[in-house]
Amino acid sequence: MINSIDLILVLILLAVLLSLGSSRMMALIKIMALQGAMVSLVPIFIEPQARLSNGGILFFQLMLLIKAVLIPGLLYMALNRIAIKREVEPLIGYHASLLVGLGLVMLSAYITRRMGLSLPGDYALLLITAITTTGGGLFLMMSRTKAITQVIGYLMLENGIYLVGTALTKHTHNIYLVEFGVLLDLLAGVMIMGIILHNINRAFDDVDTAYLEQLKD
């Protein structure tokens, strides 16, 4: 079991690094779909018996559907309607971003060791992955100017926070109804962001947030 969960976590980490190094938005959306799918699988592999008993199966199917299919699908639709498909001038270059990503992994490993937590089982890698994903999402939002890349950064941040929750808290607290509410918020959020994105594209013929600088003091 340990091996399969490690494999999933490594894939999530890889997705973070890939997204930091890629300029094509289509590739970014595919990476997000992969990461979403992997993140939804993590809890099943942590505590298979406890997870799959009471109504959990339905919830994880829904989660997989939302994170790996619906949200990337919405982003795909948004991307198809806009003219620009590449991030041309990121604030921080791709190679530098990759380096930052590697730095994040190391920082997370350091934090995890310092926290000295008695994690459930031997899942130190889970916490490292969670912190890296959260930090990577924040970094992606700050270092890119295209609105759609910022949405992807936000999604990555949410994935990371979900992983932190899975890694740190006992699973008896998780009530599917509540978790489903969080997912629903996320889905609606991406939908609203997609609508605004479409309107930004219509107003400026671009989705660069550098145009959004009229309001300031």
């Binding site: 959260t134 924040l138 939002m141 609105a147 910022q150 936000y154 941040l157 949410e158 926070i161 932190v164 929750g165 740190l168 808290t169 006992k170 008896t172 607290h173 509540v178 978790e179 509410g181 969080v182 629903l184 918020d185 609606a188 959020g189 609203i192 962001m193 605004i196 309107n199 930004i200 107003a203 400026f204 947030t209 959004l212 600088e213 009229q214 309001l215 003091d217």
Partner: protein
């Protein structure tokens, strides 16, 4: 069935999306009135929740709900007459979103489970985004984008904070249901380190939504670009809901014996917000942005009062009520000004006394009230906070508080005098209308009445809210 309080506006909102405009307007007003009745029922009589693990009638939540529902009743009819002048394309969306906004805010006010509270607050961001975007200008687009993105990220951090609080429970080996009340009873045994880290994330997360500096950057844009009734709701109701999240966790911290830590953080953020607002108000060319910065200032005052505790805590709760009443009144008056002058720039407006005399009275009275002059309630609340600060041994913070407040009043006064008595324009676009004057005046009147006479149940609920963490009226 407590859940009806938020289910009713949620359903009404969904229906209003589909209805023709005139019917939708009716639904808006009727929904607002029914909501107020349900709120009064939840407040004054026994109204048990169906899902006690998720919702409850905790006094702090009821107080926020009451304020929200009360100002919504006045904003709803105003917004109908406001929209008539505006020729809005997507009015059904506006009406539906207003009701959904009311529903999600009520849900946040009644939430007992931290994650349910989080879901409701995130939902308020999503359903209020269309309210800001409804004018469809490039500026509105920018304001909406910043609002949704900055607030979503901020609130995501608050979720992380709630996870850390859960962790502090697990680390201590306590197994109680994850609700605010059961956390409060177990507060003494929680792991203090993780509780502290959790509070930092919560204050940054919900502080973003509440408009505490330096996380306030979205607020002036969103409040100035939204149509005035929506600004009034954002400022008068939404900020309180975000504050409620911080207040609940602060309560937990005080009960866990970490009140000094969370209190100093609140004092720091509060003072910084007042100061930042004062600096930006001083040279502000846009009167709606000025009102937005004034909201940041008042949220700072509330955070400051809660951080100090004791008598100041009572003052902070009073301030919450009166700020909502006065600020929503000011935003509604600003809506009348915007219709009349067609501009948000102070330099292009002038001669309010001659052209819009009744709006002048409501705007000027609102200015006096929010600056802390009697007969409006902010006078009492700020006085209580100040006395509380000096009594609790924070003379430096108290001094900074007065100095920053003076800065805000100076900036505010410059703008209001220039608009009221400055060089007059020749004509106005839309004349004053009694129907659009009633609401701002009613809200002002409520604040003035509550300043001299407070109904016993209202007094009681404030006392119940603050008694848990040692707030009193007698210092």
């Amino acid at each position: 069935m407590l859940e009806a309080v938020f289910c009713l506006p949620l359903f009404a909102g969904l229906i209003a999306f589909l209805l023709p405009v005139k019917l939708g307007r009716g639904v808006l007003v009727v929904g607002a009135l029914l909501h107020l009745q349900l709120t009064l029922l939840a407040w004054l009589s026994d109204f048990p929740p169906l899902l006690p693990g998720y919702f409850s009638t905790a006094p702090a939540g009821i107080l926020v709900l009451l304020v929200t529902s009360f100002i919504f009743v006045f904003i709803a009819p105003y917004s109908i007459f406001y929209m008539r002048e505006q020729e809005m394309q997507s009015e059904p969306i506006f009406i539906g979103s207003m009701l959904l906004f009311l529903g999600t805010m009520s849900m946040a006010a009644l939430a007992e489970h931290p994650i349910v509270f989080w879901i409701a607050i995130e939902a308020t961001t999503l359903v209020s985004a269309p309210l800001i975007f409804v004018n469809r200008s490039k500026k509105a687009l920018e304001a909406t984008w910043k609002y949704v993105l900055i607030c979503s990220v901020g609130i995501a951090l608050a979720l992380l904070g709630f996870f850390f609080i859960t962790l502090s429970m697990d680390r201590a080996g306590i197994d109680v249901p994850l609700t605010f009340s059961s956390l409060n009873t177990a507060a003494k045994h929680l792991d203090p380190l993780w509780l502290k880290i959790g509070f930092i994330f919560v204050i940054i997360g919900f502080g973003t939504k509440m408009g505490l500096a330096p996380m306030h950057t979205w607020l002036p844009d969103a409040h100035s670009e939204a149509p005035s009734p929506a600004s009034a709701l954002l400022s008068g109701a939404l900020l309180n809901c975000a504050f409620l999240g911080i207040f609940k966790v602060h309560t937990l911290m005080v009960l866990a014996g970490l009140g000094d830590f969370s209190g100093s953080l609140l004092i720091g953020f509060g003072l910084f917000s007042i100061l930042v607002a004062g600096i930006f108000i001083l040279k502000q060319p846009d009167y709606k942005r000025m009102l937005a910065y004034s909201s940041i200032e008042n949220m700072g005052v509330i955070a400051f009062g809660v951080g100090i505790g004791g008598m100041a805590l009572y003052g902070a709760m009073l301030h919450l009520i009166h700020h909502s009443l006065l600020k929503s009144s000011l935003f509604l008056s600003a809506g009348n000004l915007l219709l009349g002058f067609g501009s948000k720039i102070v330099a292009q407006c002038g001669g309010m006394t001659r052209l819009l005399p009744r709006t002048f009275v409501s705007f000027f009275a609102g200015f006096l009230g929010i600056s802390g002059l009697p007969p409006f309630g902010v006078f009492v609340s700020e006085l209580l906070i100040l006395i509380g600060a000096f009594k609790a041994g924070h003379p430096v913070a108290g001094g900074l508080f007065i100095a920053s407040l003076a800065l805000v009043v100076a900036g505010f006064a410059r703008i209001v005098t220039s608009m009221s008595f400055g060089p007059s324009r020749q004509e106005i676009l839309v004349p004053e209308q009694t129907l659009r004057i009633v609401s701002p005046f009613a809200l002002l009147l409520t604040s003035a009445v509550l300043c001299v006479w407070m109904p016993e149940p209202l007094h009681q609920i404030i006392i119940n809210t603050i008694a848990v963490i040692g707030g009193t009226i007698h210092g």
